[in-house]
Symmetry: C2
Subunit: 290 residues, 2 copies
């Protein structure tokens, strides 16, 4: 079995690394990470730097907040590039810009290292249950090599295409999710002010063309006034920015995405960045004088 280095033990990364340990893999983690002790107790080895992790492992996985953190862990001092051996596999499972993912692919390729961009969807619940959706970009051989690892962490695993296509798919996912929340928020606010029972409304709409997982789950949240994350607005805003940047890169005007990003900015300005993204409904309600 391949030796795995896992960098990034946040609310997503920690349960993902635990699933790899449970599947029998030898896993190394960064000793400075505050979750390292828990991982070591579960059988992981702790190592001082990303360079040392890369040196001692066959596959390096990163699960970090944003593009700059991934670039720093790879190219920074004591970074992955300083230790990684030819023939290793690098898998970034963070949500970062597709352009950055492509750059990392090129950088590693020149060192004889294959890279996959493999962002996930499903949140903390999916990470803990091992049921994440994983969207993978990169070469077919590299995908096949990573597949058993993905299967230990997720369920709906799709090889989308070449380098960057996993991140582009994730960006599309986040756009659609954000805009669909906006749609549900507008409809629910109108219905609420018109005195329509939202639970009945949701039930009726789930039976027709308006059906979506967002109407189901986030619709329920809005009805129950439950805006505890879930997925925080400030993280979704970051992802919307990735989509908007990609829109600029490829010259695609993204009216809906931009609109929802502005609404998220308004919520950030009001100090609500830590709320669940379904709180877009709170902004529409506020604008409607509720």
């Amino acid at each position: 079995m391949e030796k795995i280095g896992f960098i990034g033990l946040g609310i997503m990364g920690k349960p993902m690394a635990l699933h790899l340990l449970k599947a029998g893999y030898a896993v190394s983690v960064l000793e400075k990470n505050k979750a390292a002790k828990e991982l070591v107790d579960a059988g992981a080895r702790s190592v001082p730097t990303p360079a040392k992790i890369a040196q001692g492992c066959d596959v390096v996985i990163t699960m970090l907040p944003d593009s700059p953190e991934v670039v720093e862990v790879v190219s920074g001092k004591d970074g992955v590039l300083e230790g990684i051996r030819q023939g290793s596999l690098f898998i970034d499972m963070s949500t970062i810009a597709p352009a950055t993912a492509k750059n990392l692919y090129e950088l590693l390729r020149r060192r004889g290292v294959e890279a996959l961009d493999a962002p996930v969807s499903g949140g903390q619940t999916g990470a803990e249950a091992g049921t994440l959706s994983i969207m993978v970009g990169g070469a077919e051989q590299a995908f096949q090599r990573g597949l058993p690892l993905f299967q230990a962490m997720g369920k709906n695993i799709v090889h989308i295409g070449g380098p960057g296509s996993g991140q582009m798919t994730k960006a599309c996912n986040q756009m659609i999710v954000g805009i669909t929340i906006q749609a549900v928020a507008e409809a629910f606010t109108l219905a609420r002010k018109a005195g329509v029972d939202l639970a009945k409304l949701r039930e009726a709409l789930l039976g027709g063309f308006a059906q979506s997982r967002i109407l189901d789950l986030h619709g329920k949240r809005i009805i129950e006034r439950n805006f505890l994350p879930g997925f925080k607005i400030k993280l979704h805003r970051k992802d919307m920015n990735i989509a908007l940047e990609a829109g600029k890169e490829f010259s695609v005007p993204l009216y809906g995405t931009a609109l929802v990003a502005e609404h998220m900015d308004a919520l950030l300005a009001q100090g609500k960045g830590g709320s669940d993204h379904s709180a877009i409904a709170l902004l529409i309600e506020q604008l409607a004088g509720l």
Copy 2:
């Protein structure tokens, strides 16, 4: 069994009336309607005016293109009001403004006639298969009286609340459907220009939070370049206007709905009003220089 008058035998109304005949109801239709002969061949009686239909029936159902047509059939010369008997039930299944539905309710109530607004979702396919979703507004007793008729024409039948609430629910349905198409169109256009395989993208996204019936069905249409209706843009534009008018009436700013209505107007300006509403993707592609 109650005697039914069915006014409006278009692509929706004709199969709905046929389902009522099949369920054993005596159905009267307007003789001037070009589909009247087909209905008469199937057992319906043909009658010269809405007033005469109302006079001879216990339940009058309308399935017409828009608010003015319904108002004309009810209040115009030889209209339903001239013939309808106290104790009859009036059911409008067209998609019209919630405010108009409430006015009709009040008008008929003063004549001792109960009214239901009962718009449908599911399109021609749903009408033909008898699987329409039906969203009903009106009094509970009237709903119970109409229920066997609804069950002959549809499947997911929800009594939402008082008069107008069925139309308000339909308006919400159309808003969410329109905005979700916009979301999918933006994502697919970005992915396409970035060289991502749309079939793989759709497959991956259907497994996560971006899942919706629109991503499934309209996503497939966009990939297959199938913009034959389906549901025509010009009809959906009419429904978006109903939603925007309701937004004004209840003071709810509907950013997303307004944006999508403008995109539909652009398509109308280009002579594409007869295309399926998934053709919003064509506009985004055009704006993106494709």
